[in-house]
């Protein structure tokens, strides 16, 4: 049967459109950035209260910030906030270009966990938020999340955290039922205390031969989760690239190869249009779920409401995938207002609200016992108590040092696993080529 995918096309087109429109906007801003300086420049001081100013906020997806801007405007009637969004990779590449050329960066920029270590060493490219009274926020935060936003010597506060990405495993109850697996979330969690158990459960699922369905979407994201759970990932604390020698990385790679060879992968690259179709069509029964991904699934496959549930992640929690910081580039002219906006966008009330609206797991541990969060259930995921599941995951989370080029390293290994999956290379050759690719990452 021909099943034309419904959501992939408009989404990608929308992404590309946004990206191109935004890059135009960026160039426009870069071009006229020099002319509209009305603020005084003395010591980076800011606009006078009555002066009309515009703050731009650059994000890589919908952070559901809009109502918060309205709130900010109540206390700052002279401030107008303009949000711009770009595709994930473009967003971070644009930011690098803007910092290097000294023009065009927004007043407040979002930086994802995979990139934060790329930007925090650029101490003089960002405002030190300590200077604007945000040092007081330290007591709110998970310690490791706070430290990720500091300059390498720890003296300057360059970014404030929004969310963290505690892990869980989302699964399709309808497909589990067809395969004769348990569907209750606590029983499902017991299926896979470890990733090896997860692979075994996958063999059972494949043996049941559910038409059109495999065990998981693709090896890349599972590999990432396994590495994220290890005490050391691709880099050691001193930012040396140890991916090639770290036994945990090799172990994760080998286990994924085994799962590929057992035919458990649907061979779909995450966030691609065929992946969206696969979500809707039920092409795979499980998918690794950092907290924010519950939102992505709901957006990508709205017709599957009620077919999903959420269980614990294999490997005993621990592991963070994603999460974001907000930073204020020093080319901005209104650091005081930018800092105040960052404060609002990351404070306790905001993080509470964004969890219920967008699945963004707070980085403020005091909220993990807040009944509004622990009692939160997600209707889309069969009323799973996602509040409890993800706060448990966050409590179990062992932070890992993220190195500067973690994203590129992940691409090298992800490509290697895909080469195995597509039958292009033997596992050992794929591994060797990935290790060779690491040499190119400077």
């Amino acid at each position: 049967m021909l099943h034309p995918p419904r959501r992939g096309l408009p989404r990608l087109v929308a992404h590309v459109w946004t990206a191109s429109v935004l890059s135009l906007a960026v160039f426009g801003a870069a071009a006229c950035g020099g002319g509209d300086n009305t603020a005084t420049g003395s010591g980076g001081s800011s606009a006078k209260p009555a002066e009309k100013i515009t703050l731009t906020v650059a994000l890589f997806s919908d952070f559901h910030f809009a109502p918060l801007y309205a709130e900010f405007k109540k206390t700052h009637p002279n401030v107008q906030i303009v949000e711009r969004r770009a595709q994930f990779n473009d967003h971070h590449a644009n930011l690098t270009t803007q910092l290097a050329t000294g023009a065009g960066a927004a007043d407040v920029v979002a930086v994802e966990a995979g990139y934060i270590a790329t930007f925090t060493p650029l101490v003089d490219k960002f405002y030190d938020l300590n200077q604007y009274g945000l040092a007081k926020r330290q007591s709110d935060y998970l310690d490791w999340k706070w430290r990720q936003g500091l300059s390498p010597d720890g003296s300057k506060l360059l970014g404030l955290g929004t969310d963290v990405g505690g892990l869980a495993m989302c699964y399709r109850t309808d497909l589990f039922k067809k395969a004769g697996l348990p569907t209750d979330r606590s029983e499902v969690s017991q299926l896979w205390p470890t990733w090896e158990d997860y692979a075994e459960a996958g063999k059972k699922f494949i043996a049941a031969n559910v038409p059109g369905a495999k065990w998981f979407d693709g090896p890349g994201e599972n590999f990432r989760a396994m590495v994220d759970q290890a005490p050391v990932g691709f880099y050691d604390e001193q930012n040396n690239l140890v991916a090639g020698t770290n036994p945990d990385v090799k172990k994760a790679f080998d286990l994924n190869v085994q799962m590929i060879q057992a035919g458990e992968s649907a061979k779909l690259a995450a966030f691609s249009p065929p992946w969206n179709t696969g979500l809707t069509k039920g092409s795979f029964a499980t998918i690794i779920c950092p907290s924010w991904k519950t939102g992505s699934i709901k957006d990508a496959a709205p017709t599957t409401a009620g077919m999903w549930d959420v269980a614990a992640v294999p490997g005993g929690g621990g592991g963070n995938q994603g999460g974001t910081h907000l930073m204020a580039p020093s080319q901005g002219k209104h650091p005081k207002e930018a800092a105040e906006l960052i404060d609002l966008l990351t404070n306790k009330d905001t993080q509470l609200r964004l969890f219920t609206e967008a699945g963004a797991l707070p980085s403020i541990p005091a909220l993990y016992d807040d009944p509004k969060i622990t009692g939160f259930t997600n209707a889309f995921f069969s009323n799973a108590p996602t509040g409890k599941i993800f706060t448990d995951a966050a409590k179990a989370l062992r932070p890992q040092h993220v190195g500067p080029k973690a994203g590129d390293v992940l691409t090298a290994f992800g490509n290697a696993l895909q080469r195995v999956e597509q039958g292009k290379q033997a596992p050992q050759d794929a591994w060797n080529q990935a290790i060779k690719d690491l040499d190119r990452i400077k």
């Binding site: 021909l2 995918p5 992939g8 065929p274 590129d408 292009k424 400077k442």
Partner: protein, 319 residues
């Protein structure tokens, strides 16, 4: 100038000076103003063509990353590293392969379509406009839709293949299959455009030649081969060269076909030269990217040169 008896030496001197000045202005007008007329083009060309070319060459001689203010001069190191880089040669092969797969059928098809449209037809304008339609479609829309047609699990093409008992093809995974898929996108988008160029040239071929050929009993195909093609040779040379340059610069199709995979698939099976440049550019390795750009420029010069010689040599038999 009227000749009069000069009233005095001073006056004569003045008149001579005036004449000289006029002559000078005239000279300046004749020799100088054409430069002013063409200046806008050359200024723009210098700003957007020549300067970037030269600056890229300069950057390619350095170890140049965006975030560092120090750009170390490394001579031709980037180029020697490039010549030993497997991924570079892989990208070169992919570019040539996709280029040939897309350009050759495209031009043959375009000539054939133009030939069909070059006879009296009902609703002529409609057909001609239809030809151009694919070209005004956004390249993003084209690639996104074709990627779905070439989908592995739910794609139309695999569905049709299944009627004939064929197994579904993972179009993106294979080298040949991905090249074919990308070439089809280019083919679809550019054939009509080139057909219109050919058609315009064909309209300028004198009708008498065809009439005479018809009287002599020449078939449609013979007329195409012996009259049309030789008569529109300048246009063919032009189209071949522009298509070749276009084929060397393919970026959007492979980038979007792989949904933002900068490596052009896990095995770099459809990473073109432009995509390879872009990959290194996003790593902010500007020195290396510039070196690749320059190599690509040299390739284009060579390929266009070869094409030009080939199309020039293939003379028709119109006598």
């Amino acid at each position: 100038m009227t000749v009069r008896v000069p009233a005095g030496a001073a006056k004569r001197h003045g008149r001579v000076r005036q004449g000289l000045r006029r002559q000078l202005v005239h000279q300046l007008d004749v020799k100088g103003s054409p430069y002013a007329y063409v200046a806008p083009f050359f200024l723009l060309f210098c700003a957007f063509g020549l300067f970037p070319l030269a600056y890229t060459a300069w950057v390619s001689l350095h170890d140049w990353t965006l975030l560092s203010d120090v750009h170390k001069f490394v001579g031709l190191d980037n180029f020697s590293q490039l010549l030993g880089d497997d991924y570079f040669w892989n990208a070169t092969f992919n570019t040539l392969s996709i280029g040939i797969l897309s350009t050759v059928p495209q031009l043959l098809l375009a000539i054939w379509l133009a030939h069909l449209l070059n006879r009296p037809l009902r609703a002529q304008t409609l057909f001609r406009v239809t030809l151009l339609l694919p070209n005004v479609t956004s390249v993003v829309a084209v690639v996104v839709i074709f990627s779905q047609l070439f989908g592995r699990d739910f794609g139309l093409i695999n569905w049709v293949l299944s009627w004939f008992g064929l197994d579904p093809i993972d179009w993106q995974a294979g080298t040949a299959s991905s090249h074919i898929a990308i070439s089809v996108m280019i083919l679809w988008r550019w054939t009509g455009y080139n057909a219109l160029l050919f058609l315009a040239a064909m309209q300028a071929v004198p009708r008498e030649l065809y009439e005479a050929a018809t009287i002599d009993g020449a078939s449609g195909y013979t007329q195409l081969r012996k009259i049309t093609v030789p008569m529109i040779k300048p246009t063919i040379v032009f189209v071949v060269i522009t298509s070749t340059i276009g084929a060397m610069q393919i970026l959007a199709e492979p980038l979007l076909f792989g949904t933002y995979s900068l490596t052009g698939g896990p095995d770099r099976q459809y990473q073109t030269l432009s995509l390879f440049i872009y990959e290194n550019f996003t790593k902010l390795d500007f020195g290396y990217s510039s070196a690749i750009s320059w190599m690509m420029f040299l390739f284009i010069v060579v390929v266009v040169g070869v094409n030009y010689l080939l199309t020039r040599r293939s003379r028709g038999n119109l006598t």
